[in-house]
């Protein structure tokens, strides 16, 4: 079985993003970029499935600018076998990403797609579900554990208030949550090996997909700064305020 892992290059999670002065978006100029942390978990899970013998090949795909190649190399240093860059300078929304991914997946014909549940830049949490819908495949979102057996995949999901288990026929789309695994480090020998692994570049416009944005960004602002409230004189007053004024207890 082949596993396709879509990954995204995002502003590194340690960076505090800065809203541009003209409120057109977040400044990414000169900012450290890394693989979306949820996607690292997806790469790790796919590599583990291959190491367990449940899969034979792990293919990573990213859609974006040429500078996204290092993210693919990192994924290959973690153990992915080869990589595809769908090259475009356009800013894409999850719907467009899913449509482009569908073309690649139709071509690669994998038994499983594993991807991060959301990217930490737009926080949409939608691409996996949209992709599953467009492929007409079952979906196991927010996975905290996966097991492949007899042509089906059992996914334990982080649901509201507990862990939900679903069994899906393959092929399927799985999106990863934080507790699924702890991604391995890319070691120096593996980083060197990854440089020799195949990386194919496809121009997005050759795939015949409508990627025009559906959303128009009106403005991006920093959240309002929280203001100091009042000082209370004692516990009785505090509890009174929480009960009658804030109504939280």
């Amino acid at each position: 079985m082949k596993i396709v892992v879509p990954v995204k290059r995002v502003v590194d999670y340690n960076i505090k993003p800065r809203v541009k002065a003209d409120n057109s978006g977040v400044d990414t100029q000169g900012v450290k970029m890394s693989m979306n942390p949820f996607d690292e978990i997806a790469v790790e899970e796919a590599v583990r499935l291959r190491e367990k013998g449940a899969a034979s090949e792990v293919v990573v795909v990213t859609i974006g600018v040429t500078e996204a190649q290092p993210v693919l190399r990192t994924a290959m240093a973690m153990g992915a076998d080869r990589a595809i860059l769908v090259q475009t300078d356009a800013e894409l929304e999850p719907l467009a990403v899913a449509k482009l991914l569908k073309v690649i997946i139709d071509r690669e014909n994998p038994g499983l797609v594993v991807m991060g549940k959301q990217a930490i830049d737009d926080d949409m949490n939608a691409t996996g579900q949209i992709l599953a819908a467009r492929l007409n495949w079952p979906q196991g979102t927010f996975a905290s554990s996966v097991t492949v057996e007899d042509g089906r995949i059992t996914v334990v999901r982080e649901a509201d208030g507990g862990l939900e288990t679903v069994r899906l026929a393959l092929p399927a789309v799985v999106t990863t949550d934080l507790r699924l695994n702890e991604p391995r480090y890319a070691t120096m020998p593996n980083i060197m090996k990854a440089k020799k692994k195949p990386l194919e570049t496809i121009a997005a416009e050759t795939l015949g997909v409508d990627i025009a944005p559906r959303l128009e960004t009106v403005k991006v602002v920093e959240p309002p700064v929280r203001q100091a409230g009042i000082k209370v004189t004692g516990v009785a007053e505090l509890v009174g305020k929480l009960r009658d004024e804030a109504k939280v207890i």
């Binding site: 340690n14 960076i15 505090k16 002065a21 000169g30 900012v31 391995r184 480090y185 070691t187 020998p189």
Partner: protein, 389 residues
Amino acid sequence: MGVTRDGEQGPNFAPGMILRARQTILTEGVRGSISQRVMKQFDLRQGVDPQTYGLGIKEVWEIPAEKHKPGFVQHSFGWPMDDGTYGGAWLYHFGENLVSYGFVTGLDYSNTWLSPFQEMQRLKAHPEFAKHLEGGRRLIYGARALSEGGFQALPRLSFPGGVLAGDSAGFLNMPKIKGTHTAMKSGMLAGEAIAETLGQEGSSEATSYTERFKSSWLFKELFEARNIRPAFARWGNRLGALYAGIDSVIFRGRAPWTLHFSHTDHEALKPAEKSKPIAYPKPDGALTFDLTSSVFLSGTNHEEDQPIHLKLRDPSKWLPVNWALFRSPESRYCPAGVYEALEEDNTMRLQINAQNCVHCKTCDIKDPTQNIDWCVPEGAGGPNYPVGM
């Protein structure tokens, strides 16, 4: 990688790698861990002045467009430092409405109560600085030690199997506070020397690096600047500045003498009772800020589950020396709030918040008994500064 806080091998443990090379160019920046070791092992500092350092603390601001004058440069020295403490500031307008403001404190300061961070903050209240920054917002904060020793403090540059380049050797031109061009030149010279060595049978040391350096413009530049910093160390800021003017204008850096550094930075610190306490103003939250909100803007982070990378060689020394004599200078010189002296059960103890560390190396330099060992933390930890800022 993947060693836990207790020093055990965690589930993601990956062993370190030994990289072998015929020649290694050490370019670790100021106070590099390997460079320090190499200098000691091969006795590379024999016969040269002790290296002296400065702590540079920097902020990047975004200011209103109407105030922005691209290319504007302002340098200052003196206030808020006293005459005996070397320090100065820069303020540059650059990029899109951006301002780089930085402050360097000579780490040969003697007053244990001094806080480089607070000095840096309070200079912003000076009208000549405040007028640029008012109405702007602070974007980035960072700190790094610089090597200020210059020419007299350069070690032997080559050793069997490798060379020191850039700030590993200490090629900063201090009067100009510029080291990028000098580091690049030293790297080029090192490369040429190594290429020659690798082509020679049986040769293990790129000795021609030193000769190449001596016949380059790099030598001339550092030589001519050599007396400026020690003059300040010797005569204070006013007379030092006067001397600097004479040395560079009249002698054009070619005075027939060379001033020397007499002691290391950590030896310069005076005990608390011989130091005059300094009352720093409170941050106003507009121009001046507290330490924690500053460190936040460095984007620094370290994986939690790893051994603490700042080690006391002898933990028992802290209480009788650092606390009893000096009242915990590390809690003031550290620009990242790593060190805190806490009272617990009527005694004092040192809290090390290693996760805050911005890798400036000041503690490794300034600890009065050289008891703090700045070890390299797990890969990828540390500050995250945007490129070009």
